[in-house]
């Protein structure tokens, strides 16, 4: 039993006295049975959103970028704001699955599968924006370095925009491989639970014929660990490179060395907010409270408090640096951010990202589901406005006052953005219905360490000792 020991004062991560069989049953159950009317309703709504996306993109491709509000002064507007927002949201999945694996944080097992799925869907949404921003989207393949008849004309390998192409596409591919390899054993489990041949066949194809042999598991673990090791610098590099898109330019408000850590912290911040928005609903609708416990929610809220405060410090540092630089352009751009025509965006950003997350200093509020849900929505909004402030307010009053403008989006831009939310939700709802939302095998592997009945057993062994006297395990013990 030594390998299963963990200090009994730690909070259990799986409640409800689960056995291996119950774990399988609880997680496979949502994938079985008839389609629920409620699920069909929301999937239909999300599909309408995805259709709106397709319509607005078609409109933009047919009539051109002129259908957007972006112009010569504000060349990057909603489009790149949305790109950075979605990419940031994708960061939580890889952070949970990779970095927390390396740090041996067991609470990751409850949420990693859904968070990784969210990463993949968010990166799909993010990728749309720069591609369609090109205008002549049919020439999008020009970004890849391949021998061609135009010279050959190669992309500029010294440009952060090209680095971004490589970073985002690598990030997507590695996340997809990592996610799917984790899914394979669980598809095997669903296959073996299936009652009809059609279902058996479907999940057998998805499971690649997985049988759970000891040698396969050993290779699987080795692969997971190395992919986690590779993804850890990768997840940090992706948003660093996204920040280079801004930091290596000579635009006041963009040209700062604080950008990489500031962007990475913000990405993790917004990613966790989106994980919580989705998982708080999913755990309630799919009855997964025993696997995504208050302990999980509290851990994520702690990370949001940390990263939110880091982002807040970055905002204040930017203001200080602008003042300390004595550079009139730098000073002006920040004064314009705070009290210029877009003051409301700056205020929303500060309020949602720096001020309100401070409620998580209180344990009661960290463990309150309603507070967490409202906060996760506020942070999603706040982080969108952060990107809007960085991009639009830095650009709309440039070096030449005659070209100053007040940018507003058109219905096409709004439609594309709302449409990506629809697309994202549509993919996520499909995932919830047909895929195991929680990593079955990984939960079973930590059951004897973090399950509540095993924790109780560990406590029983040591409860004669003075220090463990007042400790109890079970519902309510930790509230």
């Amino acid at each position: 039993m030594a390998s299963h020991f963990e200090s009994p004062i730690r909070e259990p991560l799986i409640t409800g006295n689960k056995t291996y069989k119950q774990v399988t049953h609880d997680i496979v159950r949502p994938t079985t049975g008839k389609l629920q009317p409620k699920w069909m309703f929301w999937t239909f709504i999300a599909a309408c959103g995805a259709a709106l996306f397709v319509f607005c993109i078609a409109w933009e491709v047919y009539f051109g970028i002129g259908t957007w509000g972006a112009n010569k002064t504000v060349g990057w507007a909603w489009d790149i704001t949305n790109f950075v927002w979605w990419i940031g949201i994708g960061h939580a999945g890889t952070l949970i699955s990779a970095i927390l694996l390396l740090f041996r944080q067991r609470w990751r097992t409850g949420v990693n599968r859904a968070a990784e799925a969210m990463t993949i869907f968010a990166v799909i949404c993010a990728g749309m924006f720069p591609v369609f921003h090109m205008g002549r989207v049919w020439d999008a393949f020009f970004i890849f370095p391949y021998p061609n008849t135009r010279g050959p004309l190669w992309p500029n390998f010294n440009s952060p925009l090209l680095w971004d192409v490589f970073a985002v596409s690598t990030y997507f591919t590695v996340s997809l491989l990592y996610w799917y390899t984790g899914l394979v054993p669980d598809f095997g489990t669903i296959r073996d639970q299936s009652k009809t041949p059609g279902r058996w066949k479907f999940y057998n194809i998805l499971s690649f014929g997985w049988i759970g042999s000891a040698k396969h598991w050993e290779r699987w673990e080795s692969l997971s660990l190395i992919l986690a090791g590779l993804s850890t610098p990768l997840v940090l590099s992706v948003h660093t490179i996204v920040s280079f898109d801004f930091a290596t330019s000579v635009i006041p408000g963009w040209h700062t060395t604080i950008m990489p850590p500031y962007f990475v912290a913000g990405a993790i911040f917004s990613g966790f907010a989106m994980v919580l928005t989705l998982m708080l609903v999913a755990r309630y609708v799919m009855d997964l409270q025993d696997y995504i416990t208050l302990a999980h929610i509290e851990s994520m809220n702690k990370i949001m408090l940390l990263t939110g405060t880091m982002v807040g410090i970055a905002y204040l540092t930017e203001l200080f640096t602008a003042w300390y630089s004595s550079n009139i352009f730098e000073l002006y751009i920040f004064a314009n951010k705070v009290k210029g025509p877009y003051w409301w965006a700056y205020f929303t950003m500060m309020f949602c990202n720096l001020v309100t997350p401070q409620v998580f200093w209180f344990r009661k509020l960290r463990r309150n589901i309603y507070v967490t849900f409202v906060m996760s929505i506020l942070i999603n909004i706040g982080m969108w406005f952060e990107r809007f402030v960085i991009i639009v307010t830095s650009l709309h009053r440039d070096f030449l006052p005659s070209s100053w403008v007040y940018y507003s989006p058109t219905w096409v831009e709004v439609g594309i953005f709302v449409g990506t939310i629809g697309l994202f939700m549509f993919l996520f709802l499909l995932f919830c219905r047909f895929f195991p939302v929680i990593a079955i095998a990984e939960v079973k592997a930590i059951l004897k360490v973090s399950g509540d009945q095993y924790r109780q057993k560990q406590l029983d062994e040591v409860k004669d000792q003075e220090v463990y006297k007042n400790i109890t395990v079970g519902a309510g013990a930790w509230d």
Binding site: M1, S3, T19, Y20, K21, T24, P145, P152, L153, W154, N156, F157, N158, P160, L162, W163, F166, T170, T173, V174, L177, Y178, T181, V184, P185, G188, T189, D192, Q193, N204, I205, L206, F208, G209, W210, I211, G212, S213, A214, K215, H216, W217, E218, R219, W220, E221, S222, L223, I226, L227, L230, P233, L234, S237, F244, I440, A441, E442, K444, A445
Partner: protein, 176 residues
């Protein structure tokens, strides 16, 4: 797929009992063909006497390939094939190559290792698996012993007895 093999199967319902049984059975001099578990049981591969996987070493080589391809390709293009004057800066600007080289290293290592994993485990979409016991992806653990010509009924009885003594909840023979 036509060649089937006969196995003696011992079913366990706890990973700790399984680990103990594996050590004792191998200690008694019987060769275990394979073990099937619903989740990765730590230390089982060592208890079974399996060689450690060399997948991570393969990952190193795939990664190194990515580094080499990216660096040499960018250098070739920027220096020989398409030299461009960026404000008089040197064509070989190693620092600017770091991000793409890094991304390609990760990409090659990840794809190479994943493909190797499926290749080594002989897993592919649509494969018809040889399932010993369907419950081993759910809550039970299985040890298998291949029964070929050389194994007589004495062997079967001895192993069966040992399995039961070690806590197996079921012992049976199966052809897959």
């Amino acid at each position: 797929m036509s060649d089937t093999k006969k196995y003696l199967v011992g079913i366990f319902d706890d990973d700790d009992i399984l680990m103990h049984a594996v050590k004792d059975i191998r200690g008694a001099g019987y060769e275990i063909t394979d073990a099937f578990t619903p989740f990765p049981v730590h230390g089982l591969e060592h208890a079974l006497g399996l060689e450690s996987t060399r997948l991570h070493t393969a990952g190193l080589f795939f990664g190194a390939t990515g580094t080499t391809v990216a660096l040499s390709m960018i250098a070739f293009i920027n220096i020989f094939n398409f030299p461009t004057d960026f404000g008089g800066k040197p064509n070989f600007g190693l620092l600017a190559y770091v991000p793409i080289t890094f991304e390609q290293t990760v990409l090659y290592a990840a794809i190479g290792m994943t493909v190797s994993f499926y290749y080594l485990c002989k897993l592919w979409p649509g494969k018809t698996p040889k399932i010993i016991d369907e419950r081993t992806t759910d809550h039970l653990f299985a040890l298998t012993f291949e029964l070929d010509e050389s194994k007589d009924s004495e062997y079967v009885n001895a192993v069966s007895e040992l399995l039961k003594k070690e806590g197996a909840i079921e012992v049976y023979q199966k052809e897959v």
